[in-house]
Amino acid sequence: MLLYVLRRLLTAIPTLFVIVTLAFFLIRVAPGGPFNQERGLSPEIKANLEAEYGLNDPLWLQYGHYLKNLSHGDFGPSYNLPDFTVGELFARGLPISIQLGASALVLALLLGCLLGTVAALNQNRWGDYAVIALATAGSTIPTFVIAPIIQLVFGLSWKLLPVGGWGGGAMLNKIGPVLTLALPQIAIVARLMRGSMIEALRSHHIRTARALGLSDWSVVVRHALRGAILPIVSFTGPAAAALLTGSIIVETIFAIPGVGRYFVDAALNRDYTLVMGTVVVIAIFTIVFNLIVDIMYAVVDPRVRYD
């Protein structure tokens, strides 16, 4: 098992390398540069800035330089937020995004599994239809509609929650964003869970368990759940990577100072180092969570072995 993890981590390095290389050259090919703003700088200042950041060197030299720094964990300075290095920006924003994303993920997994199981146990009855309706709504209504409606209902009409802002991490400020992030995920988890639970309940070992006279609770929780949860485990990997690295929509609407906005802003401003930093962070999260999921798979399902 340990060997397997080590091997996976080693193979992640070339993957990361390919992603970094692709992203580096793609963003460099794009027209424009970090210092071509609408109200332009005077040519002398621009030239000085570009010289300072080494942007006039040949591209391959810059690439080598970037790789060298990256291997030391140095993401470089941000061009458009010159007081910060990219590392500092992530140190500030990432904990916020992770807090929101992790809460949303936990909420989605718990509620989604619960709803999916309820639906499966009441197949083709009212409970089932209610869950299906909720799941359809959750996966159809886009986030940028849910978020302002939550603001409107809970923030402006009922005045239960603040409309936006981080508020230094106050509990009430987190409810809106977490709910918005979680709703579509709840829908997906509930749908997956319903399908796999229905299948699990039909299998032979469940029939045997029932024949032995075990209680419903014991049949579902101790025997069916373990098999039914596998699709949820594989869903959790990519979902966790996406949720923890911040959502641009949610962070924009609720005015949250997380990392979700970095990618778009940086790409539009040609803040090369920040774009690269975001790509690297997302890639690392994806790789790590896929690995965790594969390990979890072996834990949940003893038939899966990694030798």
Binding site: I19, L22, A23, L26, I27, A30, P31, G32, T136, T140, I141, P142, F144, V145, A147, P148, I149, Q151, L152, L156, V163, I248, I249, T252, I253, F263, V264, A267, L268, V279, I282
Partner: protein, 377 residues
């Protein structure tokens, strides 16, 4: 004589088989949610395409007297709004109000100024969004006082107006045209590229297939949002070009599905039977492969269109998609989200149009899947 016997078989006994599509149509017709959604989509398309011609307001006209006016089925201006509009006009004319009254939709106004009033100032009255047809009634001998009358314009804003005073109904409908058109356009581009690419890989097979599918895998592994942002960066904010490009990104799934289908259809017994009977390759393609491929393609297309509409709205929400004064549902929702405190109808109407369309498209997609793929039921 056996030949004759065969020829004489009574025609009445021949059972007319239903075609693949006739069969699917019958199954779809039995699905009430899907049929209702299909009807709803047709209605939505019709309303969005034809509607703006029947709405008396143009989607770009700014009514400065009616900024953030709430939706109402009654005509504007409301009684208490006339005074405000009148004050605005008189400020422009640089005169003071002495007396005014409103009768039968015409206002009679008496004003006074410190200098003789030029009656050409009445143009300011006509220019207002509230008044029309201003006429001089009387003027005092020294010209310092004037009485004039003006008709009060009756206007309807069923969905209210937006934050600069444009009619929201016509904007929502025009936005619908754009959103639906983009969904279809990018959907068609994606499906075309995907089908051609996937079918080529599936039919040529071997090394070519291997290489073509590895390319798809590599493109898959890049974060999707990175792709889209790069496209915005390259194509600027020209939205037609951009959505051709977005369509060009979304073909990956289609290519995989079509390739898989093409590979499996070629191995089916009925294709082998046709080959054994000496049917030519083009005949097999036309009679067996294409009809069997069309099912998944149609299903995928109906599920792709809502995907593209959401993507367009997402980009427009970020300010990267459709640009003012052109509009789309995403743009309207974005502006609405900024104005929820003062004008929640700006969010609610476009959001309802977008969400109901997405629902309908999903139901039609699900219905088609059930209808075209009976194994799956």
């Amino acid at each position: 004589m056996t030949d004759a016997a065969v020829d004489n078989e009574p025609a009445a006994n021949v059972v007319v088989g239903r075609s693949l599509w006739g069969d699917a149509w019958a199954r779809l017709k039995a699905n009430r949610a899907a049929m209702f959604s299909l009807f709803y989509l047709g209605l939505m398309a019709l309303v969005c395409i034809a509607g703006p011609w029947f709405v008396p307001h143009d989607y770009t006209t700014i009514y400065s007297d009616y900024v953030r006016t709430p939706p109402s089925t009654e005509a504007y201006p409301k009684a208490d709004m006339v005074k405000g509009a009148l004050d605005d006009v008189l400020k422009r004319m640089r005169v003071d109000l002495k007396d005014w009254k409103l009768e039968d939709g015409r206002a009679t106004i008496t004003v006074a100024g410190t200098r003789p009033i030029d009656e050409r100032y009445l143009r300011y009255v006509d220019r207002s969004d509230t008044f029309d047809d201003a006429r001089m009634e009387a003027k005092s001998p020294d010209g310092l006082e004037m009485t004039f009358s003006a008709a009060v314009k009756q206007q309807y804003f069923l969905f209210g107006t937006d934050n600069v005073g444009r009619d929201l109904l016509s904007r929502t409908l025009v936005a619908g045209r754009i959103s639906l058109a983009i969904g279809l356009l990018a959907g068609v581009v994606a499906v075309t590229i995907g089908v051609v690419y996937g079918a080529t890989a599936g039919f040529l097979g071997g090394k070519v297939d291997e290489v073509m599918m590895r390319i798809v895998d590599v493109l898959y592994s890049l974060p999707f949002i990175f792709f889209v942002i790069m496209l915005v960066v390259f194509f600027g904010r020209n939205f037609v070009l951009m959505f051709l490009a977005v369509g060009a990104v979304l073909w990956l799934d289609m290519a995989r599905i079509v390739r898989g289908q093409a590979l499996s259809i070629r191995r089916h017994e009925y294709v082998q039977a046709a080959e054994a009977l000496g049917v030519r390759q083009s005949g097999i393609l036309k009679r067996h492969v294409i009809p069997n491929l069309l099912g998944p393609v149609v299903i995928y297309m109906t599920l792709l269109v809502p995907h593209v509409i959401i993507l367009e709205s997402f980009l427009s929400f970020l300010g990267l998609g459709v640009q003012e004064p052109m509009t789309s549902w995403g743009v309207l929702i974005s502006v609405g989200a900024h104005n929820i405190g003062s004008a929640n109808w700006m969010l609610l109407f476009p959001a309802f149009f977008l969400v109901s369309t997405l629902f309908a498209l999903n139901f039609v997609g699900d219905g088609l899947r059930d209808a075209l793929d009976p194994k799956d039921r």
